[in-house]
């Protein structure tokens, strides 16, 4: 059973990528529906299996490390696999209706979509540093391709910028991997940890970790390496922006987090941890501030991603030389933040896409008065905004609560200020959109209502982000030991 699930999980996206390469957009859409169904069922099945029996290790094709590819299937990984299935299928279904099938270059959307999905699964499940690199490259290249689908010069500009940043990030990461292998003679994170268990820490091994984290931070768009993100996320088609903000940046963060949680304690130091936290805080403040000043709706959402990503990096200081319970709280908080941001941001981008379609413009002022047409998408946008403001009862709030507790518990009160100020700033940019939509002066008298299916999808995602807060305890209990080895190796 597990064998089939794993095979389905890894094989379908690749197979569907090839299949859809052979068709045009409309037929690719039909094919994709089938693939989405398989992928969602398989992800759900795997999640249920792990929830019942615990995690396990899986050697792909029966080969074991170091030459074979070993996968690590634990509670956290399958939760992210499931999250990917939910968000990616939502974006896929939305894109099927949203994207204009008549433009010839749009036929590449489906293959790129499926390559992206398979790369994501590889990253969630990957156990060794090099395979993670391959997965990450797969993600980056397909993401760049998806951004370039915008077709215009601007889109290509943004995608080239994105590509160069992503490639630089990968190389810096790979350099770190090379140094790491040179020092420890192994590529698996668990191998390094067990090597460190019996040997003293060699001098200079901090450099390898620093390089890897820097490369990944560049791919995650941590301040001040964030400049490539807003143009790319802002200009891509809305379902693509949703995929990028919700999942793609999370993949590189997930790797950085796993590296830090297992190797940070032996190889890192306090100053580095605080520095990363500080950069994260700067991202929160700077990203939100810029989000308040953007004239275009999708740019607001894109800058909000820069800010929300900043919170994730508070993981570094909040898990370094703190008590077990504080570290657990921080990890749970960050996990919830990843999930709720993925759901809320995907909802927001999809809803923004619908609003742009309805109002006929990407500008925030174009929303003037649309609330009187009762646009369903505005509700979805608003609900997702509640999660971004981390107000109760959303998942964003549960995450913030846990992070507040972790900061209090470790005595690092300065992060509390960051979270409170960040919350207020995010309210500023979310309320800016609400405000524009409530303004009654000289609004448009025409309003185009998009197809129901376009409107329902973001609403479902926004409701999931909302419900995550109420059910966060249950969700977290499935990842009983987040970021830890589950089951027997």
């Amino acid at each position: 059973m597990t064998l089939w699930l794993m095979a389905g999980l890894l094989f379908t996206p690749l197979a569907w990528a090839v299949l859809t390469l052979l068709t045009d957009f409309s037929r690719g859409r039909l094919v994709t529906w089938g693939g989405i169904l398989v992928q969602v069922l398989v992800s759900l099945g795997l999640w249920l299996t792990v929830a019942r029996d615990g995690g396990f290790h899986y050697g792909l094709g029966g080969w074991q490390a170091p030459l074979g590819i070993e996968l690590r299937v634990d509670g956290l990984a399958v939760t992210f696999v499931l999250l990917t299935a939910v968000v990616a299928s939502a974006c896929g279904l939305h894109a099927g209706v949203y994207i204009d099938p008549d433009k010839p270059w749009h036929r590449y959307f489906w293959p790129l979509f499926w390559f992206l999905w398979s790369g994501l699964n590889v990253v969630w499940l990957g156990g060794d540093l090099f395979n993670l690199y391959v997965g990450l490259e797969l993600i980056s290249l397909s993401a760049v391709g998806l951004v370039a689908l915008g077709g215009k010069a601007n889109a290509l500009r943004a995608s080239l910028r994105y590509l160069l940043a992503a490639l630089l990030g990968s190389l810096v990461y790979l350099l770190g991997v090379a140094l790491m292998y040179g020092q420890f003679g192994t590529l698996s994170i668990a191998g390094v940890v067990s090597w460190l268990g019996v040997h003293p820490v060699p001098a200079g091994s901090g450099l390898a970790l620093a390089l890897m984290v820097t490369g990944l931070a560049l791919k995650t768009a941590l301040f001040p390496l964030h400049r490539w993100l807003p143009p790319a996320h802002g200009i891509a088609r809305s379902p693509v922006s949703a995929l990028l903000s919700a999942l793609v940046v999370k993949a590189s963060f997930y790797m950085a987090a796993r590296l830090w949680l297992e190797l940070g304690e032996p190889l890192g130091n306090l100053a580095a941890a605080q520095l990363v936290g500080l950069l994260g805080s700067a991202a929160v403040v700077w990203g939100s501030w810029l989000a308040c000043r953007q004239p275009q709706l999708k740019q607001v959402v894109a800058y909000s991603s820069v800010a929300q990503i900043g919170y994730l990096f508070l993981l570094f200081p909040l898990t370094y030389s703190v008590s077990e319970s504080v570290s657990l709280q921080a990890q749970q908080g960050i996990t919830l933040q990843v999930i709720s941001h993925a759901l809320a941001k995907a909802a927001m981008f999809l809803a923004a896409g619908n609003l742009i379609l309805s109002a006929g413009s990407n500008r925030v002022d174009a929303l003037t008065g649309v609330s009187r047409f009762l646009p369903f998408s505005l509700f979805s946008f608003g609900l997702a905004g509640v999660s971004l403001m981390s107000l109760p009862p959303t998942g964003g709030f549960a995450a913030k609560w846990l992070l507040l507790q972790a900061s209090l518990g470790s005595g690092q009160w300065w992060w509390i200020l960051v979270m409170l100020i960040g919350g207020l700033l995010s309210a500023a940019y979310v309320f800016r959109i609400y405000r524009a939509s409530f303004l009654e002066s000289a609004g448009p008298d025409r309003f185009y209502h998009p197809a129901r299916s376009l409107e329902v999808i973001p609403m479902i995602l926004a409701l999931l982000a909302l419900g995550l807060g109420l059910a966060s305890d249950q969700v977290l209990s499935v990842m009983a030991l987040p970021f830890e080895e589950g089951g027997s190796p």
Binding site: E137, K152, G182, I356, N362
Partner: protein
């Protein structure tokens, strides 16, 4: 100075040159070449450094092979995008903003 260290240093220098090119050159094709130089540097470090175990280590060889494939794929994608960008905008660099600030509906 051992041979492995020599390889690693050479790799590091290549990386440095590539990084410089990637950040400071404006022409997109030059940037792309700089990326490839940097990549070669990283591969050199990867193959060169782990030789201290006596004789070459097969694992990095396999990795670098994969790495080269990935780098070629990336280069190909970049070339396609650069070409298309040049056709649409007539520009070879990313510095100056294109003329129309109003991007309109998507």
């Amino acid at each position: 100075m051992t041979s492995s260290l020599l390889y690693a240093l050479a790799g590091a220098i290549l990386c440095g040159i590539g990084l410089f090119g990637l950040l400071w050159l404006s022409h997109l094709l030059r940037k792309l070449l700089a990326f490839n130089i940097m990549g070669s540097g990283v591969f050199l470090v990867m193959v060169g450094l782990p030789q201290h175990q006596g004789g070459p280590d097969p694992v990095p060889q396999a990795l670098v092979l994969t790495g080269i494939v990935v780098a070629i794929a990336a280069t190909a994608l970049a070339v396609v995008l650069i070409r298309r960008y040049f056709h649409l905008s007539g520009m070879t660099g990313l510095e100056d903003e294109p003329a129309s600030p109003e991007r309109g509906p998507e």
